[in-house]
């Protein structure tokens, strides 16, 4: 069997008395698109925030490319090649588009051969290139994020997460704030990236999106993983039942 790109074993996170994520196991293989499903508060976002180094697990292990990893800050995850597109986009509204794409990893050049200063021109050019891949136009790279539309903001956030040649891409509600046209572009992008063997974890409430791009589904409820399905072997009705808990089918499907 092929080695999993990401494997989490028995991952647990508590917030006070609440067990947000309760002993969850999950594997993601190269080129695979995994849908992570569950109602609000099921623990999806908390789970991925542990994988992206934002939260620290209270129990369990994370393996990346076969090696156990401990991440104390988000930079650790970024350095491993785990890129995350957050639901709230995590953009600094007071900065312009290219500054956000390069936030935390700014390109620099030498000033008078001595001091490292921001290389605005290179960052702007690279940002234009990456946004062209998304076919979403930003009126000006110099506009502050707060002046952009929802779709344009999303494009900046996606641009940031794909620019760095991710080894694993996590997308939390990537189509939520978008128009129909833009949603399709994002889904095309997901297919394109997975065809380049980049595994993707995608969280979405849009079942249509999930069924059109994923290979496998993981369903969570109240912090626990309750089911795992091969996408083509299931249907939206069953999935909705699993999410809400009205359908307690225990039909274990082995991934691959």
């Amino acid at each position: 069997m092929e080695q999993a790109m990401l494997e989490v074993r028995s991952l647990t996170k508590r917030f006070g008395g609440l067990v947000a994520v309760d002993h969850v196991d999950l594997q993601v293989y190269p080129g695979e698109v995994v849908g992570l499903l569950g109602d609000n508060g099921a623990g999806k976002s908390t789970l991925i925030k542990m994988v992206s180094g934002v939260h620290h697990p209270d129990g369990g292990q994370i393996f990346f490319q076969g090696k156990e990893v401990k991440m104390s800050i988000p930079m650790d995850a970024l350095e491993l090649g785990i890129e995350t597109l957050y639901q709230d986009l995590a953009l600094a509204e007071n900065l312009d588009a290219y500054s956000n794409i390069f936030l935390g990893r700014e390109m620099t050049k030498r000033f008078l051969g001595l001091i490292k200063v921001l290389d605005h021109d290179s960052m702007r050019e690279e940002s234009i290139k990456v946004l062209e891949r998304l076919e979403i136009e930003i009126p000006s790279m110099h506009n502050q994020i707060k002046l952009l539309s929802g779709g344009q903001r999303q494009a900046v956030a996606i641009g940031r997460s794909i620019y760095w040649n991710a080894k694993l891409l996590i997308m939390d509600e990537p189509t939520a704030a978008l128009g129909v046209q833009e949603q399709r572009k994002v889904l095309d992008l997901v297919r394109l990236l997975s065809s380049q063997d980049i595994p993707i974890i995608i969280i979405s409430h849009q079942l249509y999106d999930i069924f059109s791009v994923t290979d496998r589904l993981v369903i969570m409820r109240r912090g626990k993983k309750v089911a795992e399905r091969i996408t083509k072997d299931t249907n939206p009705d069953e999935v909705v039942g699993l999410i809400t808990g009205s359908e307690e089918v225990e039909r274990k499907t082995q991934p691959r």
Partner: protein
Amino acid sequence: MTDAQAGGSVRSAGRFGLWLGQNWALLFLLLEVVLFSVLGTRFLSLENLQNIFVACTVVLLLGMGETFVIITGGIDLSVGFVMGFGAVTCAKFMVLLQAAGLPQGASIPLAAVICLLIGLIPGLVNGTLVARLKVPPFLATFGMYGIAYGISEIISKNTPISGLPSAAGVIGNEYLLYIVPRKMVTFLIRPQNITRLEMRSMLAIIPIIVVIAFIFVGIFSFVLRRTRFGRHTYAIGGNVDAALRSGINVTSHLTRIYMISSFFASLSGVLYVLKYVTGRADAGSARMLDAVVAVVIGGASLYGGTGAVKGTIIGALIIATLETGMVNLSIPYHNRYIVIGGILVIAVLIDQFFPELVGRR
């Protein structure tokens, strides 16, 4: 007039209004200068204009540190008393090193360096409280406000420190350039052997203290505008979660921000010692208000994310011009607090109700 023209002129009127709003501080400064020139005596003389720059150094330096802090969405209330702490530490070390037998040329700079290093400690404490222990900046630095003052009074034994090396006052009160018309030009050293008449016509240009202040202002302005550190400072103020998830080490960054603030406060204390050849615990007591006012007049939002050194310089000049002008017109000194407090309230109201005016860097 066609519709297009009408639309154009309305738009340009709107643009002019916006420009007016965004540059109200600069206009206010010009207004002050005009007003005091008309009402005062010899307000526009070279000497008086230089006095304004000397008067603005304290506010400018405290405001520089405060600019970094306010951009991150915090505030540093301790700068005034950290300045006092810097002044007494610097003065104390000058006295001690002189007593230890060091020549003036060594004891003065050494005391200044020691003071600047010790001056990082209040910032380290503030930064640790704010960044690591999540104490609101207002409370953490308010605590330091009291602590720094108390310690300064202990060091100075409640009296201004005296008996400093005499050369200290030279750096603080001399000028970069002296010109005796039709006779000589000297750098740093006051011309010797000149007649009393020549002395009166002598021009002293650019106080050394102002040069020192602006060197540091220039360096840190560069850091804020051109480096990753500066960019991260804005990002933290704009969206701390975004900064965190982009991999910026927010904890260590914020700690350094508060250390920059206390560095500038200490530097201000050192310059105080050089100018007045004494160290007092209350050297900068009321200056915290001025520093915050300068930064806010300069267009920084107390909600974080915006602000610029350019604005803080204008803000500091507004306060210094006001001070100098009021002295020129013999208006009692305490009135300045009322005026400056009033300006702060107006600036904050503009920030609150016209946020589009402060969305500039």
